[in-house]
Amino acid sequence: MSTAAETTAGSVRPVSRSVRLRRNPLGRVLMKVPFWLLILAVAVYALFPFYWALRSAITPDSELFSTPLKYFPSHPTWAHFHDALSSSFFRRALLNSTIVAGSVTLLSLAIGSVAAYALGRFRFRGKSFVLYLMLSMTIFPQIAILGALYTMFSGFHIVGPISFPKLYDTPWALVFSYLIFTLPFTIWVLTSFMRALPGDLEEAAYVDGATPLQVFWKVLLPLIAPGLVTTGLLAFIAAWNEYLYAVSFIQSPSHYTVPVAIVSFTGASGNAFQFPWGTVMAATIVVTLPLILATLVLQRRILAGLTAGAVKG
């Protein structure tokens, strides 16, 4: 496409050496070589660690820890995957992470879409203040409130018979604290989606006698469904990957989330002398596979959501 346009332009203007090269079919191929080498380098750089994790996960221990290294396993085995998935410790962590990330995502979407409706479709004083508050929350350093949350989660008295429940070492401590980074982001992105909708549909619904809540539920929410999918996925990934709070607020191994479990993995067949690298690599593959698939399927939407969040900031 672009080369065709350039060659026609070139035929009008005096012919330079690069244009002559480009006209020659062999020259055209040769000129592309450095470009494709660069693309290849980028792809290898991004993907090689994944290949190495996969290769290590299917290499039996006898080959894994012997030199010289084999770049392709000669006796591939599922043993490490079996070890990882049969360990109740790791299965518990997968379940815990699913519960935590799922709850955080649903809560953020529910609270966030309602707030985005107000911020995106209504006019009232104080609105821009709330928007800026949410924006400043998105760059809030989580470490700044670690100690306060730490003491809050050991339970405290609010007023009268009401007290804050003891959340320390429960998944709810994580659900609660993860809202600090998922909710403001969700509100910010969904507000931009709400704002982009044309006003006609809403007006038509009001003329037909719909209440604002009906308009929200029946007209606007279906229209921003793509936005909900994108922000929901981003919130899920952020909560699934979080480590600082998970390692600080969770003590018992049966409540570990995936990142904490991966770090403290000893493996089913782990012995004291050799760290179970094969099993850990199998576990990392298991953990990343759903994320990779979701990213590949929804990459356009993720990019749109991320740039909406970043560029407008």
């Binding site: 993907l47 009232f124 991966i262 990392t284």
Partner: protein, 309 residues
């Protein structure tokens, strides 16, 4: 004043509008209430509590002495704490290394992927993958690749005659910052490239065509068109990456644990609170980190203001 007929419709109309406006205001705040309650409870209250705690000698689970107000004692200790000073220096070094590498590599990758070629969509999807995986997983994968006896980096280095013998990249104090930075750069560069790519794609193609007609070469086009028009995207990327790098925790904690001399500000603060239980002193560290990060935000914003004038 004297006319009686005309003023009547005006107030009615205005009253209707204000009634509608009032209803919108009320409903708006009602819809915002859950979100504001969450933010108040999850962020604003804890932030206030942190500031308060930083003036006390609160201990977690220690409980030997009752918690009491100690004034600026924690901040006084913080200024004279050599460990804290080391963590600030290490964090800033890490930030400088990773942000500059991620930006330069990311820009190159973005320019390459911006040209039209078959498989560009797939390439962009591939670039999102390192960003999507947990930092902990990335750190574990690289820890294994950097292993001193059976790591693939040492093996490749020896095969390609880049190094003469295996090296303990993470354990050796002289290479560990580079090793940790490499993991961060690997995980984040593709994402930086994607954000810059989004900025590149909104630059209209006519500008390049016009420049080519005027006889500008590719390098001139890059300096005169691409870079100035990419400025907003570049600033956003730099600000976000700097703030992220300054609060780095995961990659250091996983690869180096709580090793002295290898702690970032966030690792030191987290271990002070959760390992040692010094909530009061940890709160003072938190406030200091918050202020340092805010300082960088102010520097960036002033820089943007000044250069825009």
């Amino acid at each position: 004043m004297s006319t009686v007929a005309t003023p009547a419709p005006v107030p009615r109309k205005r009253r209707r509008r204000t009634k509608l406006q009032r209803r919108q205001t009320r409903l708006g705040w009602l819809l915002l209430a859950p979100a504001l309650a969450v933010v108040a409870f999850v962020a604003i209250y804890p932030l206030g509590k942190t500031v308060y705690q930083s003036f006390t000698n609160q201990e977690f689970l220690g409980g030997l002495e009752p918690t009491k107000w100690v004034g600026f004692a924690n901040y006084h200790q913080l200024i004279h704490d050599p460990t804290f000073r080391d963590t600030v220096v290490l964090t800033i070094k890490f930030t400088a290394i990773t942000v500059s590498f991620e930006f330069l590599l990311g820009l190159i990758v973005a320019l390459v992927v911006n040209s039209k070629f078959r498989g560009r969509g797939l390439m962009r999807a591939v670039m999102l993958v390192p960003w999507a995986i947990p930092t902990v997983v990335a750190a574990k994968m690289w820890q294994w690749m950097l292993d001193d006896t059976t790591g693939v980096i040492n093996d490749l280095g020896i095969r390609l005659h880049l190094i003469s013998h295996s090296h303990a990249w993470i354990a050796d104090p002289s290479t560990r910052l580079a090793a940790v930075s490499a993991v961060d750069i690997w995980k984040t560069t593709p994402f930086v490239a994607l954000l810059l790519l989004a900025g590149l794609q909104v630059i209209p193609n006519d500008l390049y065509e016009a420049a080519a007609v005027d006889g500008a070469n590719k390098l001139q086009q890059f300096w005169r068109i691409t870079l100035p028009l990419l400025r907003p995207a570049i600033l956003v990327v730099l600000i976000f990456r700097t703030l992220d790098a300054l609060r780095v925790f995961d990659v250091f904690q996983v690869l180096l644990g709580y090793r002295l001399g290898a702690q970032t500000m966030a690792v030191y603060d987290q271990s002070t609170i959760t390992q040692d239980g010094h909530v009061g002193y940890g709160a003072a560290l938190s406030v200091a980190i918050f202020l340092i990060i805010s300082l960088f935000v102010v520097i960036y914003v002033t820089f943007v203001r000044v250069t825009e004038e």
